[in-house]
């Protein structure tokens, strides 16, 4: 725990200063997790504020201060999931509006703005996001929490309130799909490098 139970109790009783301290303690960790879950740096703060907003209005539902961290993670997962679904709808309508030529021009302009290091990072983010798009949003979040965030199965069990075995099966299937997509991607990259 990054904070003591008394602080959570005080925040639950409506102490705004205590809530502010909780935000300061977890802000960095939560924003980092969101960045890796959604893969879009420009929207991280917006989703992060949504997480803490939900936390503020749901603190009274927290059963015990001991389960605060899994609770906060659950709020983060839910906010990221909501964002992804909205984003998917937005992207679909935006892509329907733009002609293919416009999309290519927009991509070229965007990549021209970035420097080499940023482009590499953006490429890496794009590759991982692309691989993760082969599984559902739920599995994508679960896999990211396990593989990227490094949460243990025990911690995931608390976050999802699901038995460890069920999580294992789900994680295995999701990883297999991503592995297949990764193998295909590598073949394409190798093929392009030969040419």
């Amino acid at each position: 725990m990054m904070i003591d139970f008394q602080l959570i109790e005080r925040a639950r009783e409506g102490d705004d200063a205590a809530f502010n301290q909780i935000v300061q303690a977890y802000r960095r960790k939560i924003l980092g997790t969101i960045a890796r879950l959604i893969g879009r740096p420009e929207d991280v703060e917006d989703v992060g504020q949504e997480v803490f907003l939900r936390l503020y209005y749901s603190l009274d539902q927290l059963r015990a201060p001991e389960v605060f961290e899994p609770w906060l993670y659950r709020l983060t997962v839910n906010a990221a999931y909501d964002y992804m679904r909205k984003q998917k709808r937005r992207m679909e309508s935006r892509m329907a509006d733009l002609s293919e030529q416009h999309v290519e021009l927009a991509d070229a302009a965007e990549s021209g703005k970035r420097n080499h290091d940023d482009r590499q990072k953006a490429g890496l983010r794009e590759l991982v996001q692309n691989l993760l798009s082969n599984v559902s949003e739920e599995d994508r979040i679960l896999l990211t929490l396990k593989e990227v965030e490094g949460l243990s199965l025990k911690e995931l069990e608390q976050v999802y309130s699901v038995k460890e075995n069920a999580l294992k099966v789900r994680l295995f299937r999701a990883r297999q799909r991503v592995l297949k997509a990764f193998a295909r991607e590598e073949t394409v990259i190798k093929g392009a490098a030969k040419q």
Partner: protein, 106 residues
């Protein structure tokens, strides 16, 4: 081959984590958060007041309606009903018959 692919995927996830490091966000993060909290908090009392007003008005109307319904019942129950009048008249007639019979017997 599969192990190798597994390992490469693990390294890719690790590199992804490095490419998206933890961030504090902008200086506006907390003020904007509080603005959002306040924005959600403000309409609540307004709605609560409206709801309370509506509930009070509905309760008053219910009371008035039930009074209107009760008053005619009580006033009507004060006087005799049609059946009671008929019953009374029948009893009067019966007494009259008995009296008439008495007179005949004498």
């Amino acid at each position: 081959m599969q192990d190798d692919l597994d390992g490469r995927l693990d390294r890719l996830f690790h590199a992804y984590r490095e490419a998206c490091p933890d961030t504090d966000g902008s200086a506006n993060f907390t003020p904007q958060l509080w603005a959002r909290i306040e924005a959600r908090r403000t309409p609540a009392p307004k709605w609560r007041r409206l709801t309370q007003g509506f509930v009070s008005a509905a309760a008053a109307m219910c009371l008035a309606m039930s009074l209107l319904l009760i008053v005619p019942i009580t006033t009507s129950s004060a006087g005799p009903s049609y059946l009671e009048i008929l019953d009374d008249e029948h009893e009067t007639l019966a007494f009259a018959d008995i009296e008439d019979d008495g007179d005949l017997n004498q």
